[in-house]
């Protein structure tokens, strides 16, 4: 890695002169903030252009990269842990990927066809989400309206972790907040790894594809702009099969494999020839995220859902009677194969709706509020209206206290319980 000014800066304000096609990477120290300002020239953060002389504030743990195509001056003030300028960035490759996609969109527009559908795959910590954000931002900036499909249940960049969803992108992502989440389509998965219920995962994937196709039929612009699909970092065995299934469900045209040749070869082997599969390097700026860090990110994501970005929302806390709601869990608990009755396979239970009796163990669990009106509807394939978290259970009074983004009452009575827990501490 070539570092031009590699010395760690801990002083209050530092100015960086960036040459063209270089990148300033920095991390924000724990419990610190960093203020960034573009003084001159043009720069972008993951595809979003920076406004000159506007101060952007980044919170603790943020890992940022400011890239410039033309050269610029950036000023950082605060405690940036590592801050260096790197020349070594695959942005040009990513940009060329975008131009190729744009060519496809133009062709689709001309021939009244369906636009490109890209799936980004790769192991964990290679910058899949960042590449998606980049491609989407570039797409929006060239006047398209691509759809972002997030199949990564681990991080959940559209909604909270443990969900899968799709988002129609109309403007570039905010430098600080990311894509503005307005009316996303979210499905409940319930866990942070697809391995817990791969059948449900594949089913929701198919369902999302179906919904996206429906949208494409009515919205010409969405159809031409296509979609960018973010996937899980699990690329072995069942995880890999889920990727192939997603490719087939969405009928993808391009698969971008990040930084793993094995996956590239396997994709070439298992997807039909008309799907273009390309291998791209990961950016040197991608940092390995530890398990703990991922968990923290997840927690932050959920906190942000309830309290808003930097605590701009005030969630409601109220009691809900047990009798007013029905709580279900998708997928019966797995039992060892040896305990199953003859002729029954484990998967038979994976889509089953199991009623959950409210109890103490429900505390801190996240619940999805399903939009379904009755149990007869296909609950696992019904989108989710919102999420609540159980903060207390009173068995005597038969009520539980919840934290909800909206005031009472709950819009619908059917709740789906997640494996994910959230402690409302901060």
């Amino acid at each position: 890695m070539t570092e031009e000014s590699g010395e760690e800066k801990r002083t209050a304000t530092v100015k960086y002169e960036l040459e063209k096609e270089t990148e300033l990477r920095f991390e924000v120290e724990a419990s610190q903030t960093v203020q960034m300002e573009l003084l001159s020239g043009m720069a972008e953060v993951f595809g979003t252009e920076l406004t000159r002389n506007k101060k952007f504030i980044f919170d603790a743990g943020c890992k940022m990269a400011v890239f410039t195509w033309h050269g610029c001056t950036v000023q950082l003030s605060g405690h940036a842990e590592v801050a260096y300028i790197s020349k070594d960035t695959p942005m040009l490759l990513y940009l060329n990927t975008h131009t190729a996609l744009e060519q496809m969109r133009q062709q689709a527009e001309k021939e009244d066809e369906r636009g490109p559908r890209v799936m980004v795959v790769g192991p964990t910590n290679v910058g899949k989400s960042t590449l998606c954000r980049l491609l989407l931002n570039y797409g929006v900036r060239t006047g398209r309206r691509p759809t972002y499909v997030d199949l990564d249940v681990g991080q959940g960049s559209i909604s909270i972790p443990g969900t899968m969803g799709a988002l129609y992108i109309e403007r570039p992502a905010d430098v600080e907040e990311g894509f503005s989440v307005q009316a996303p389509l979210v499905y409940h998965f319930g866990s942070t790894t697809p391995g817990t219920n791969i059948k449900l995962y594949n089913k929701i994937t198919s369902r999302l594809a179906e919904i996206f196709n429906q949208r494409c039929e009515v919205n010409r612009r969405a159809s031409v702009s296509g979609c960018v699909i973010n996937t899980c970092g699990w690329v072995k065995s069942s995880g890999y099969q889920a990727l192939v299934h997603a490719a087939s469900a969405f009928e993808v045209d391009v698969v971008v494999v990040l930084d793993q040749e094995r996956l590239y070869n396997e994709m070439k082997r298992d997807l039909p020839h008309f799907v273009r599969i390309v291998l791209l390097p990961k950016s040197g700026g991608v940092v390995e995220r530890s398990k703990d860090f991922r968990r923290e990110c997840r927690d932050d994501r959920i906190r942000e859902y309830f309290y808003g970005f930097r605590g701009c929302f005030y969630p409601h806390a109220f009691d809900v009677r047990f009798s007013d709601v029905k709580i279900y869990k998708i997928g019966a608990p797995t039992i060892p194969d040896s305990c199953l009755p003859l002729g029954m396979s484990q998967e038979d239970n994976q889509l089953k709706l199991v009623p959950v009796t409210p109890g103490r163990d429900m505390v801190h669990h996240l619940l999805s509020v399903s939009t379904a009106d009755s149990i007869e509807e296909n609950i696992s394939e019904t989108s989710v209206a919102g999420f609540i978290v159980v903060t207390g259970v009173d068995l005597e009074r038969q009520v539980f206290t919840i934290l909800s983004p909206a005031p009472r009452p709950l819009p619908k009575g059917i709740l789906l319980i997640m494996d994910i827990r959230f402690m409302d501490l901060k």
Binding site: E21, M42, G47, E49, W69, H70, P90, L92, L93, L95, N96, T97, H98, T99, A100, E102, Q103, M104, Q106, Q107, E113, P116, P123, N125, V126, N137, Y138, R141, T142, K236, S237, S248, E251, D253, V254, D259, Q260, E261, R262, Y264, K268, R269, D270, L271, P272, H273, F274, R276, V278, L279, L280, P281, K282, P341, L342, G343, M344, S345, D348, N349
Partner: protein, 588 residues
């Protein structure tokens, strides 16, 4: 000797007419009594003796083993009676004593032991106390029944019957009532002792001792026991007229044994072992021909031409021209021809080679993979770029060395699986038909078609003959249905085929209908209703009934469970066969 007879009666052993058998029984009984719980033997004797004392007002030698035995027996019967519902335990002890003493009158005469005699004389006082209000009855050996001479007591509710205006009792009922001390039985104008009643009334013509033992045992437990009447059960024809509940299981599907079709497409893809060149390779080459700046090595070039020349040996002209046109049109679909023995399945529907929607030669995605020969990408057009971004020429050769930076952690198993896959798993594109698809719709259609063909393309000699494969793949929707198809052992119902004409019903027959005690209040002899169980009395030494016998009995019994009462030297154990279902997949 007296004590042994007594003990045997108490246990409802056959009265030993040959005296030689008595000795054996005595030892047997003593063993059994000795095996009983000590504490009972210690407490109960005193109570029994105490009772005797109150009646006789005499001192009794408590050390006598006969007394101990007797009281133990009383205890046993007493506990049985306490379970009984309509036999009040308070006067039970008295009844037992009465019957005991009566029956032992003759035995006692021969007894030499004076202390024993004193015990029995003490008990005799007890009978004399209440012999006046006994119902008198006469044994009629020709009819095989007992006729009552004085009006029946309360027992008439659950026992006896009326014949030609006369109240009669069945032999087992009479013996039981005699044992209970409710009737006095006469034969040829002389009262019968219990032992005599046993000998005279219980025979093969009427009721065997074995059956009587079960009868009296159940009676003591409070059950209402009636003789089983085969006429009360419907005939097969009558049953057919009603609901065919016993035919439930005959309506099952005709499962044929089928064999799986693994041979279905063996010849297909047989020789497709070569690797297909990647599309990119060809893309790069075409780009080269177009005069663009491809960095094709001469080695690759020669390799390519060599392959080309190899391919010139045509077996199928059409195919070849197709190949050529592919190369010109869209190099994507142009692959090294595979073995000529490829399947011709979808050759009709996919004959015309269509262009894929996207021309990825013109739409150049940067690709750092090693199988992609294009390394230089031209500067993108302005209109493709977002504003404020200037595109540039791109050379990926530098980036090629920078992939696979992330180290992959694989477990041993995963590694092995990957290796296996690398070696054996073929590319979907090795299939010519797949290569001719140019969109997902066509590809999915092809897969669907193949699935259907798999079903329809079957050799008739295998599938339409009498012998057919074990498993029909299209009928298998779940593992449960598969298991059902291949199941050789099928579950059956106990009544399957039981309606067949029943030969030698003599082998086994149902002896008693047993009604529950709590029904006693509104029990009617004329319409007893459905029994609780039906009892079949067997000797313990006898063999376990075979399936046919069980079937016949079950059939005779209709929907009432059949219980086998096994008598082992006076001990009665009850057994029943349980019908159970093998677990099945409940979700299908």
């Amino acid at each position: 000797m007296a004590s042994s007879c007594l003990g045997s009666k108490a246990q409802h052993q056959p009265p030993p007419p040959p005296r030689s058998a008595a000795g054996r029984l005595e030892t047997l009984l003593q063993q059994r009594l000795a095996g009983r719980t000590e504490s009972c033997c210690q407490i109960q004797p005193r109570r029994a003796i105490g009772a005797a004392r109150t009646h006789a007002g005499r001192e009794l030698p408590c050390a006598s083993p006969a007394v101990a035995q007797l009281s133990c027996t009383v205890l046993e019967l007493g506990t049985a009676a306490s379970l009984s519902v309509h036999m009040a335990p308070k006067n039970f002890f008295q009844i037992i004593l009465k019957s005991r003493t009566k029956s032992c009158a003759c035995a006692e005469r021969r007894s030499g032991s004076c202390c024993q005699r004193s015990v029995w004389s003490a008990f005799l006082g007890a009978i004399l106390f209440c012999s006046g209000n006994l119902v008198k009855a006469e044994w009629k050996p020709r009819e095989g029944l007992v006729e009552l001479r004085s009006p029946a007591g309360k027992f008439w509710q659950t026992m006896g019957f009326t014949e030609q205006g006369k109240q009669c009792l069945l032999p087992e009922e009479a013996v039981y009532m005699l044992e209970c001390g409710s009737i006095q039985l006469f034969y040829r104008e002389l009262p019968l002792s219990i032992q005599e009643a046993y000998e005279r009334l219980l025979s093969h013509k009427t009721v065997t001792l074995l059956q009587y033992q079960v009868y009296s045992h159940l009676k003591r437990l409070g059950y209402i026991v009636m003789r089983f009447n085969p006429c009360s059960v419907l005939s097969p024809y009558e049953r057919q007229l009603n609901l065919e509940s016993h035919h439930q299981s005959s309506g099952r599907l005709n499962h044929k044994r089928k064999r799986s079709s693994s041979s279905r497409s063996k010849n297909r893809e047989e020789n497709q072992t070569k690797r297909i060149p990647a599309n990119d390779e060809i893309c790069g080459r075409v780009a080269n021909n177009d005069g663009s700046q491809s960095q094709l090595t001469s080695e690759q070039n020669s390799d390519w031409t060599k392959k080309e020349s190899e391919e010139q040996c045509p077996t199928n002209e059409e195919e070849q021209t197709q190949d050529r046109s592919c190369a010109k049109l869209s190099p994507k679909v142009r692959d090294r021809p595979q073995s000529r023995t490829e399947d011709h399945i979808s050759s009709k529907s996919f004959k015309t080679v269509e262009r894929s929607k996207w021309d990825f030669v013109k739409i150049a995605f940067p690709n750092c993979a090693f199988d992609c020969s294009q390394t230089l990408y031209p500067k993108p057009y302005k209109d493709l770029l977002p504003e404020n971004i200037a595109g540039q020429e791109l050379d990926v050769s530098y980036w090629r060395l920078r992939v696979n930076q992330q180290r992959e952690k694989l477990s041993r198993r995963e590694r092995e699986q990957l290796e296996r896959e690398c070696r054996y798993k073929k590319s979907v594109n090795a299939d010519r038909a797949v290569r001719q698809c140019c969109s997902w719709q066509e590809y999915k259609q092809l897969l669907e078609q193949r699935n259907q063909q798999r079903r329809s393309k079957r050799p008739p000699h295998l599938w339409n003959d009498v012998i057919s494969p074990l498993v029909q793949s299209e009928k298998v929707s779940s593992s449960a249905s598969l298991l059902e198809q291949i199941s050789i052992l099928r579950s059956s119902h106990i009544l399957d085929g039981a309606a067949r004409p029943q030969e030698n019903t003599e082998v086994m027959k149902i002896d008693f209908d047993v009604y529950q005690a709590d029904a006693a209040a509104n029990f009617k002899k004329s319409s007893p209703g459905k029994p609780y169980v039906r009892m079949c009395v067997r000797r313990f030494e006898e063999q376990v009934p075979d399936l046919r016998a069980v079937k016949q009995l079950t059939y005779q019994s209709e929907d009432v469970p059949v219980v086998f009462a096994l008598v082992d030297n006076g001990d009665i154990a009850f057994y029943a066969f349980k019908d159970f279902k093998l677990p099945t997949d409940m979700y299908h």
